[in-house]
């Protein structure tokens, strides 16, 4: 039985159980779990939702062929979206901007914060590649106006621009901006904006389910001793401590 299946069953069982504090043996628990009915279609939808939201196009396509589950958005749009995400993650911000604008020109026009972060990333990449003169010019032409247009960006703007002031940028107080994590952060922001513009939820459902499971287990802990799932990645039941 798949791990996924176990997790879902566990969650359903706990929610039914939350009435009295007692000790439940593994045997009893597993029996109850077996009585819980889960639909395979629901699981497939969850998987598809995860693949689609995270942008795993090929996997989504294959999964669709093999399981017959229909994605709730057009897989073609996922390809476009993934191209944008990849471009940001590789540091080709300008390319990413052009792709976003081809996909939907409204996104950057109506999302000043996202646009600012993309411009910010461009500056970071210029500095990372040692193109100091170009970076200076870019900061003046492209970033400074953002600060003029919108006061709330000024603080972040100052932080970013101060990158230019340091010899050893990596070890400066603002060195974290050069981390790959900064690229991933920006990429994630773009991904979310595209999903929202397509009226799709920007977060997959699966993490929500897992959070719910952990929370429900914590609640039940106050009332009963029972086999818990502690390691989400293996989803194995741990014997209740006697």
């Amino acid at each position: 039985m798949s791990l996924f299946w176990s997790v879902i069953r566990q969650l359903a069982e706990i929610e039914a159980m939350a009435t009295s504090k007692k000790v439940i043996t593994r045997e009893e628990w597993e029996k109850k779990l077996n009585d819980v009915k889960i639909q395979k279609e629901d699981m497939n939808k969850l998987v598809m939702n995860f693949l689609v939201t995270e942008g795993f196009v090929d996997a989504a396509e294959k999964f669709r062929m093999e399981s017959g589950t229909e994605p709730d958005i057009d897989l073609a749009t996922i390809t476009d979206r993934m191209a944008v995400k990849k471009a940001v993650q590789s540091g080709n911000v300008e390319d990413a901007i052009e792709k976003v604008n081809d996909l939907n020109p409204e996104i950057l026009d109506t999302n000043p914060q996202l646009f600012f972060h993309l411009q910010q990333q461009r500056l970071i990449e210029l500095i990372r590649n040692g193109k100091v003169e170009e970076a200076l010019e870019f900061a003046q032409e492209e970033l400074a106006p953002r600060g003029e247009e919108n006061q709330s960006f000024l603080e972040e703007l100052e932080r970013t621009v101060s990158l230019l002031a340091f010899e050893d940028v990596k070890n400066s107080p603002v060195g974290d901006l050069l981390d790959i994590s900064q690229r991933l952060k920006t990429a994630s922001e773009v991904n979310a904006a595209i999903l929202t513009s397509q009226s799709h939820e920007k977060d997959p459902k699966l993490p929500g389910l897992l959070r719910m499971l952990l929370w429900a287990q914590n609640q039940l802990d106050e009332k009963a001793v029972y086999p818990r799932i502690t390691d989400l990645s293996t989803a194995t039941l741990q014997d209740p401590s006697v």
Partner: protein
């Protein structure tokens, strides 16, 4: 990387290439357009700069030739539309430039293209235009235009339906326009559109709200209590994940309720709406601000709703909000307006505010009186006015502190008329104070300013200034009274009595009534300057038709007639017909015969004062009254339907009969 680095330094270069592309055509068009588009999207500064450099006419020229040529590529049309749309996005001068360059008809043509991508691009661009107030006005009365609009809403394309909604929100302004849209079944279409999952829901609700706003007929005709789907959809949307959607859904429901109160009676739903709005206040942006005004309009005219809001601790929540630092003016104004509406009828609300620790709430509102924004000052005044309706706290002298009075008096000199009027209304309430603190007003030069304002050309200012003076005069001590009259002068009072507006006349007479009320010495005021004030009042009474004026005027006489012999005789002279018009009946008879019990009451009281048996002239007065037919009129009223009148009539008759029975 493509050659954008050079364009950063040289927008003129791009313009040159654009111009050449527009004139010569060829491959370069697509490339340069795309470059331009990518430069301006998200970049307001660049948009303005390219507009100034004259980019738009070139772009429109490319669009125009591409539309008419059958061989041009689809992507060229898309890029044109996207570029134009971006220029129009959020920039009014951009919209203007786009329209001036003649883009509109070309964009409309794109809507019927076979390639859906082109249709989408055109629709998006047009929607951007219609989100600006400088967009062209759409004529709903033209059949052709209406057909186009309806076809937009019927399409299975979000961008097209969204465009249709934007057009309505922008251009529907008058009741007639609302009616024609309602009659065309647009509301039903919008309700249907709201059912799907779509990014345009906010747009649909905004246009729905625009059509129904303040128009009961449209609602009654197109939207009924049986329209379950509409209610269902809107109620569902009040629980949406996006705060703006929740707010818009609440707004639509509240607009319906304000126009047709019977449609949203359920206490459960009303309470739920208030709770949702209270939670939306936490949003720190525009949604939070608009929520306050929505809540304010919800509870404005209905005490029941104010009570509901009070019960779910709205006041506490707002007080918490008020104490946050750096509140934006709009938010402060909104908070004050909600508090004002809460306190408009309910003493419980006023008490809570007045009992807040260290008077924090009142202090913040009082600070609002000196805020830099006009609307905040007005809202603070209205709030104070409503709170001061509390008789309990007014009589406890709670408000007669310098902290409140001084800023309010300052506002009488405010540059904005609406602030002056709001301050006058608040002062009108505060001066009804029953303690001796009115001197604070009189000494501060406030009276002089009130008298000045009573001569204003603005009716609202004049009316409320006289009202404030009237209330100030109410039960005031004689020293203050003297001070006030010194500023007022009989001349001012006379001219106020003949003000073109009947409302001002009424307040002026009320002022005089308060003037002569009190000790016998007060009556002397109307005899100042050879008694021409009293004559003026007499003339006013004889010519007036508005009941309120007659009432006030008669009570002046009533008060005067309670004085000495000389006073009573003067009143007799005024109420009896003069020798030149013997055939006119006395004003007293006219009033005694009125259907309005208030007039009858006022007249009878005056007669009572005139016929009090003690005093040398009493007998003669009774004879005159009888000769004028007044006594027989009284006899007819011995069983008057109004108890008050009946009892006074009997008193008056009793008094006149002490001089013997004059049956003839």
């Amino acid at each position: 990387m493509p050659g954008s680095a050079s364009s950063i330094h040289c927008p003129e270069g791009l313009i040159e290439r654009l111009r050449s592309a527009a004139e010569n055509g060829g491959e370069a068009k697509l490339k340069v357009l795309r470059e331009l588009k990518n430069q301006i999207i998200g970049n307001r500064t660049k948009k303005l700069s390219y507009i100034n450099l004259g980019a738009l006419p070139f772009v429109v020229s490319i669009l125009s030739s591409a539309s008419s040529s059958s061989s041009s590529s689809d992507s060229l049309l898309v890029q044109c539309a996207a570029t134009i749309g971006s220029f129009a996005c959020g920039v009014d001068s951009g919209v203007k430039a786009v329209l001036d360059a003649g883009a509109f008809p070309h964009l409309m043509n794109l809507l019927s293209h076979s390639n859906e991508k082109i249709v989408d691009a055109g629709a998006r661009a047009l929607k951007m235009i219609y989100q600006s107030k400088v967009a062209p006005k759409y004529d709903f009365f033209q059949e052709k235009e209406m057909d186009i609009l309806i076809s937009l809403l019927d399409k299975n394309n979000e961008y097209l339906t969204g465009l249709g909604a934007s057009i309505i929100t922008h251009s529907c302004e008058t009741k007639d326009e609302q009616k024609i849209l309602g009659d065309a079944g647009i509301l039903k279409k919008l309700v249907d559109l709201l059912e799907g999952t779509t990014s345009q829901r906010d747009a649909y609700m905004e246009s729905f709200a625009t059509i129904i706003k303040g128009n009961p007929q449209v609602i009654l005709k197109s939207v009924g209590p049986e329209n379950g789907r509409m209610w269902g959809n809107l109620l569902e949307l009040t629980k949406d994940r996006y705060s703006r959607t929740r707010l818009l859904a609440c707004m639509c429901l509240i607009l319906i309720k304000n126009a047709v109160p019977s449609y949203l009676q359920s206490v459960g739903v009303r309470t739920k709406l208030i709770s949702i709005l209270l939670e939306l206040i936490d949003d720190s942006g525009q949604v939070g601000d608009e929520t306050l005004f929505t809540l304010s309009s919800f509870i404005e005219n209905e005490e029941g709703l104010q009570k509901l809001a009070f019960e779910v601790n709205t006041i506490e929540k707002l007080c918490d909000h008020m104490q946050k630092e750096l509140l934006q003016p709009k938010r402060l104004e909104g908070i004050f307006m909600v508090l004002a509406n809460l306190c408009s009828n309910l003493e419980s609300c006023r008490s809570v505010l007045l009992q807040s620790p260290k008077l924090q709430a009142i202090n913040i509102i009082t600070d609002g009186l000196s805020h830099t924004t006009v609307d905040v000052r007005v809202a603070a005044c209205i709030c104070l006015k409503n709170i001061s309706r509390s008789v309990k706290y007014l009589s406890a002298g709670q408000f007669m502190t310098e902290a409140v009075i001084i800023p309010l008096i300052q506002l009488l000199y405010d540059s904005s008329t609406s602030v002056q009027v709001a301050a006058l209304c608040a002062i009108s309430n505060l001066v009804v104070d029953f303690t001796m603190h009115k001197s604070l007003f009189v000494q501060s030069g406030c009276v002089k300013r009130l008298v000045e304002l009573s001569k204003s050309t603005d009716l609202s200012v004049r009316l409320n200034a006289v009202w404030a003076l009237r209330n100030l005069m109410f039960l005031v001590d004689s020293r203050c009274k003297e001070g006030i009259f010194l500023e007022l002068r009989a001349l001012t009072l006379t001219s106020l009595m003949s003000d073109p507006s009947a409302c001002v006349q009424e307040q002026a007479l009320g002022l005089i009534c308060n003037l002569v009320n009190g000790s016998v010495d007060s009556i002397e005021y109307v005899f100042a300057e050879n008694g021409f004030l009293l004559s003026a009042i007499g003339r006013q009474l004889w010519s007036a038709s508005k009941p309120e004026i007659l009432i006030q005027g008669m009570y002046v006489f009533c008060n005067v007639a309670s004085g000495k012999e000389f006073h009573k005789e003067a009143v007799m002279h005024q109420i009896l017909p003069g020798s030149s018009n013997d055939d006119n009946q006395s004003i007293m008879v006219t009033m005694l015969q009125s259907n309005d019990a208030r007039l009858r009451t006022a007249a009878v009281w005056t007669i009572i004062n005139l016929t009090i048996p003690t005093g040398p002239g009493a007998l003669a007065r009774v004879v005159k009254l009888k000769n004028a037919g007044i006594v027989s009129q009284l006899r007819n009223m011995a069983n008057d339907s109004c108890l008050d009148v009946k009892l006074r009539v009997r008193t008056a008759l009793g008094q006149s009969l002490t001089f013997g029975n004059f049956s003839t």
